[in-house]
């Protein structure tokens, strides 16, 4: 009898241990699955040709994006994003260039992000993110005047607001569910990269010379900040919160403007007929940037706004050295402080609405694009209307683009328009084909007028995996 009881007890114990072991294995397998390196990504083909005679190719890009995610522990994670690209058109100009694959078939590799995230570091309210990362500030759609930590990636001027990753340490301290404080430190300054190909001169203002002078040649020297802790680093903090139905933030950045400014132009006579060569010395401007933003909803309409005050660290004085032309020029040296000698504000406001028929409207007004400074801030009006059909498979945006006014007192001669209608179709849930056009027109010196000879058709195919 006793033995029988022991046998029953042992069988029950074994049964329980099997059950517990089974559960443990399930949990262990689940954790192992969650902790595996996850690879996902995107293949993008982006081809554009000009609509004018000969239909020259304007853009060629094949981009493979690899996204890597690995949960290290319950409270830590690795994240990476790499772009591997063929971009641009073959550009050999001599037979020796045919030995260079980078010229024959231009390619590049870009580590967009590679960082470790630590949640609840030292205290449960502190999250840290260390490594290359994108630090997205602001509430507006794509164009964020308060987002000045990462360098601008202006390679494709039609991809408004794109930035590159920075090597940084970011700490977020959560005061409560509704408020947090963010501190950012970026040890090295990275300048913005300028537009490629046909867009190369889109951001360059017209150069005006004194009467009788003709530009024969131009060269420049770029002075980078010294690479030490004091000179090259950028720091910023932000207080973000939510109260009474409004998301808001206040921010401060002690950083650099990623686009260089001219400090000195040296004019050298090139001939006896007024021709000159100009040698420019460029450097990057330190600035205090104080920002604020908000987002809210009223009667179903989403509203947002951002403003950033740029306070140059030092008065920027551009010197024109005309001594080589003196006494033909009235003065040997002139000084110009019109670029950025006083604080200036870039701001944006916008709204969006979703209609019950599946359509969507988004409007924004921007004062000052990312390359504009001081008094030379233009007014931009952006608008996009799109409608979705067939379970969101087909998306048509008949209205999209921007309107610029550079001088309200002489609008007829100082305006521009970029009309960018678009049709997207999801051939499968993971393959999206987009066709669009970009039509530019305008007068005066501004971003889109500079592109008015480049109306183009654009084809994109995106595959997510």
């Amino acid at each position: 009898m006793f033995m029988k009881k022991i046998t029953v007890f042992l069988i029950m114990l074994q049964a329980i241990s099997f059950t517990v072991k089974g559960q443990d294995e399930n949990i262990s397998n689940q954790l192992q699955d969650e902790n595996k390196l996850k690879i996902s990504g995107e293949l993008l083909t982006d081809e554009r040709f000009l609509l004018k005679e000969n239909n020259e190719w304007a853009w060629n890009e094949n981009r493979l994006t690899m996204k890597l995610e690995k949960r290290i522990t319950e409270h830590s994670k690795f994240h990476g994003e790499i772009w591997m690209r063929n971009i641009g058109l073959p550009g050999p100009v001599a037979s020796s260039d045919l030995y260079n694959k980078g010229i024959v078939d231009p390619y590049n590799l870009e580590i967009r992000e590679a960082n470790i995230q630590l949640y609840g570091f030292l205290t449960k309210n502190l999250d840290l993110k260390i490594g290359r990362q994108l630090i997205a500030w602001g509430t507006a759609d794509k164009i964020n005047p308060t987002s000045n930590l990462n360098p601008f990636d202006m390679e494709d001027v039609l991809d408004f607001g794109r930035q590159r990753g920075s090597d940084a340490i970011v700490a977020n301290y959560y005061i409560s569910g509704d408020f947090f404080l963010q501190g950012v430190y970026i040890p090295f300054f990275q300048p913005a990269n300028l537009p490629l190909g046909i867009f190369a001169n889109a951001l360059n203002p017209e150069m005006t010379l004194s009467e009788g002078m003709t530009l024969k040649g131009f060269s420049d020297t770029l002075q980078m900040p010294a690479f030490n802790i004091g000179e090259s680093s950028t720091a910023g903090f932000r207080f973000k919160g939510y109260t009474k139905g409004i998301d808001f933030s206040w921010s401060y950045v002690w950083g650099y403007d990623g686009l260089p400014v001219t400090k000195k132009n040296t004019f050298v006579p090139a001939d006896l007929y007024g021709g000159v060569n100009i040698n420019s010395r460029l450097s990057f401007m330190r600035a205090h940037i104080i920002g604020t933003d908000f987002a809210t909803g009223i009667a179903g309409i989403g509203f947002w706004g951002e403003a950033a005050v740029f306070i140059p660290d030092k008065n920027l004085i551009m010197t024109n050295d005309l001594s080589a032309l003196y006494p033909l020029s009235p003065e040997p040296v002139t000084r110009d402080t019109t670029l950025a000698d006083k604080p200036y504000i870039r701001f944006i406001i916008g709204a969006d609405y979703n209609f019950s028929d599946g359509s969507y409207l988004n409007v924004q007004y921007l004062n000052g694009f990312m390359h504009e400074r001081g008094k030379n801030l233009d007014d931009y009006f952006f608008m996009r209307y799109e409608k979705r059909f067939f379970n969101d498979r087909l998306k048509i945006a008949p209205v999209g683009g921007a309107f610029i006014i550079t001088d309200w007192s002489r609008i007829n001669d100082n305006h521009a328009i970029a009309y960018i209608p678009q049709v997207s179709y999801n051939a499968t849930p993971d393959i999206e084909i987009t066709m669009s056009a970009a039509i530019f027109d305008g007068k005066g010196d501004n971003l889109f007028t500079n592109l008015k000879d480049y109306d183009m058709f654009m084809f994109r195919m995106k595959y997510n995996f």
Partner: protein, 245 residues
Amino acid sequence: MKVMIQKAVNTALVIAVSMLSVFSQDAGALLKKMDDVMFSPKDMTGKMRVVMIGKNGKQDIREALIQQKGTDKRMFRFTSPASQAGIAILSLPNDIMYLYLPAYGRERRIASSAKNQNFAGTDFSYDDMESKSYSEKYTPKLVNTEVKAYVLELTPKAASDYSKIVVRVNKTEYYPESMDFYDRGNNKIKTAAYTFKKADKYWNASEIEMTNLKTNRKTRMQTSDVKYDTGLTDDDFTVRKLKQL
């Protein structure tokens, strides 16, 4: 004689009003019982599979993880297809919604008019997905009693895309068996068929099949791995969590 007729009419009126009141009270109690079945867990986590079936039978499948606390806090994170994986929506009280797009690395407050549209391309509206109790949103009326179900007609208390919803409530367990949705022109536009299964101590809608009568499309929303009352806190429904993939 006149006085007698007057008394009879008054009595009949009182009885009629009383009966209406009893029906109305019964309808209210029935709807409350249905709400208790649908919304009694303190919190819920689970997986959701959304199968969208076109007129030609072609299927699109989306999968997501869902977390919910009470009736007004919800986190919805897509896991497939790859083009949507990582996109997350946080719904908070007072019509506040945030959308997180991993490609931009930032959360974005979305206009509450997004509720006007279908949820993620399905035949469910954001309103259908809302977990607010039906008693809060609708005034019920008992319109029929079938062998196995009560039939309630729900009229919205506030502005809505629907003029009414006709719901069949199971007589023994009080979960909804089906719902018919009527537009403002009183045309039946959608119908939902519910499959309830008991998970732990709660009844769970393991599948809802919504048929759009205008487009002849169907959406099946299936839940699995559902866990109730796991102790989710308000901290699990914050922008901080939204960005932690």
